[in-house]
């Protein structure tokens, strides 16, 4: 996709403490793409991006909100007594979502935008069954959200990154569905969701 080594050797060589390698690579790749995409991220351009709201920044913040939600959901699900297989899934998927959060927040900052604050979430999580049911809804919604936003993304690099993330959401969704004894792929074409529909769907989980 984006070859960071060639585009920016200095970036590729850096290891950032406290940030996973893959999240960092993705963030660097996004930043490089953004730089090439806008010719030069001079302060002027950054300001312009911030003022226009920059369509891509808005979409990235939308995605960030969803990733915060998913990451928080898996984190909270650790308090349940899940069977060992589901605990592994929740741990692994939760860490994937946390990496998405890191990459998206970093990219928004690199583009001169301001990452949205992490909302406070509240989930009706009582037991394994409610975990599975909710996980399926959230992951399927995540897939629809990215698929809906994809065609509106202007930067090819950010689109590629969003694609790379949505594929993971789809893999999560299928895995959770299997555990739910549901069809892993319920249709030949995944539905795309409009931003507002997604925000409405997740609203009940956001504590004001």
């Amino acid at each position: 996709m984006i070859d960071v080594k060639h585009a920016a050797p200095d970036l590729a060589a850096i290891q950032i403490e406290g940030m996973s390698r893959s999240a960092f690579m993705m963030r660097s790749a996004l930043a490089v793409g953004a730089v090439y995409g806008t010719t030069m991220v001079s302060p002027f351009v950054r300001q312009a991006l911030a003022q226009s709201g920059g369509g891509d920044i808005e979409i990235l913040n939308f995605a960030l909100t969803l990733e915060y939600l998913e990451a928080d959901f898996y984190e909270k699900s650790m308090r349940l007594s899940l069977d060992s297989e589901l605990l592994d899934i929740a741990t692994e998927f939760g860490s994937n979502e946390a990496e998405h959060v890191e990459a998206l927040a970093g990219t928004i900052t690199d583009l001169g935008g301001t990452p949205v604050e992490k909302p406070t979430f509240m989930f009706p999580l009582k037991n394994q069954a409610s975990f599975l049911k909710l996980a399926q809804t959230l992951e399927d919604t995540g897939v629809g959200a990215y698929n809906g936003a994809g065609p509106m993304i202007e930067s090819k690099e950010i689109l590629a990154a969003a694609g790379s993330i949505v594929q993971i959401e789809a893999r999560h969704a299928a895995a959770i569905r299997l555990k739910n004894k549901a069809e892993p792929a319920p249709a030949a074409f995944d539905e795309a969701l409009e931003m507002q529909a997604v925000l409405d769907a997740v609203k009940p989980f956001i504590k004001a």
Binding site: S20, T137, Y146, M152, I165, V166, Q167, A170, A188
Partner: protein
């Protein structure tokens, strides 16, 4: 959430490639209430459309027809349409391979029960992808690639399941590799909606063979057209 729409999705998408009105509905469904909805129409017009001799669509260089008067915008759109057609035909070839693979797997009688049902469902999805891609290519004035003759090693259930997983993971990577190259927002929306289905298949099949759901971690890796074609070459007989 998607279950309710499932029964209608297939025929609706099949229709979309042929009927502009249903295409519009499809695009709406795809969340693609994107401003560029009309780009599809522009492309069709620039390519001669399917109503007035759509086969000129691939010509590109031709300036003899009125609809291709050679102004810059039209030329750019023509090039964009050609690039998209190439990608669509590439995707079609992969979908042909997958659909044929699942057909042969079912015929080989290696699986039964839940596993057979899973594989058959995935095969049906691939067939729907074939039909939709074919229709889309035709509606853009292109010529759909012909189905390749395939050959797969189908002796042992475990090896076949592993091959299925390999093929689906490759398919997902192939779509991901093209996402940034597709010009038309509508075609991109369709490709994205297929991409995540391939990813779902890959994840389920990985589970079947004991491989990780997300073998590459939090970010899936794309594959280039060149790499993918090289990897599927052993399965193409003629």
């Amino acid at each position: 959430m998607t279950e309710s729409g499932e029964p209608q999705a297939g025929p609706a998408l099949d229709e979309l490639a042929r009927d502009p009105a249903s295409r519009k509905r499809f695009l709406k469904m795809m969340g693609g209430g994107v401003a560029a909805t009309s780009a599809f129409g522009i492309l069709l017009a620039a390519c001669g459309g399917d109503d007035d001799g759509g086969t000129t669509g691939q010509a590109g260089g031709s300036t003899s027809t009125g609809s291709m008067s050679g102004d810059d915008t039209t030329t750019m759109e023509m090039e964009a349409a050609e690039g998209d057609l190439e990608i669509l035909n590439y995707a079609l070839t992969l979908e042909y391979l997958e659909a044929d693979f699942y057909r042969k797997v079912a015929e080989a009688g290696l699986f039964k029960g839940a596993q057979l049902s899973l594989l058959s469902t995935f095969g049906e999805h691939e067939q729907q992808h074939v039909e939709t891609l074919t229709g889309t290519i035709e509606s853009l004035g292109g010529t759909p690639a012909t189905a390749p003759e395939t050959t797969f090693p189908l002796d042992d259930a475990k090896a076949v399941a592993e091959l299925a997983a390999t093929v689906e993971n490759l398919g997902a990577a192939a779509y991901l590799g093209q996402a940034g190259r597709i010009q038309s927002p509508e075609i991109l929306a369709a490709a994205l909606s297929i991409h995540t289905v391939e990813a779902r298949h890959a994840s389920a099949l990985n589970a079947l063979v004991g491989a990780p759901y997300t073998p590459e971690g939090a970010f899936a890796a794309p594959a280039t057209m060149e790499d993918v074609l090289a990897k599927v070459k052993p399965f193409i007989a003629a």
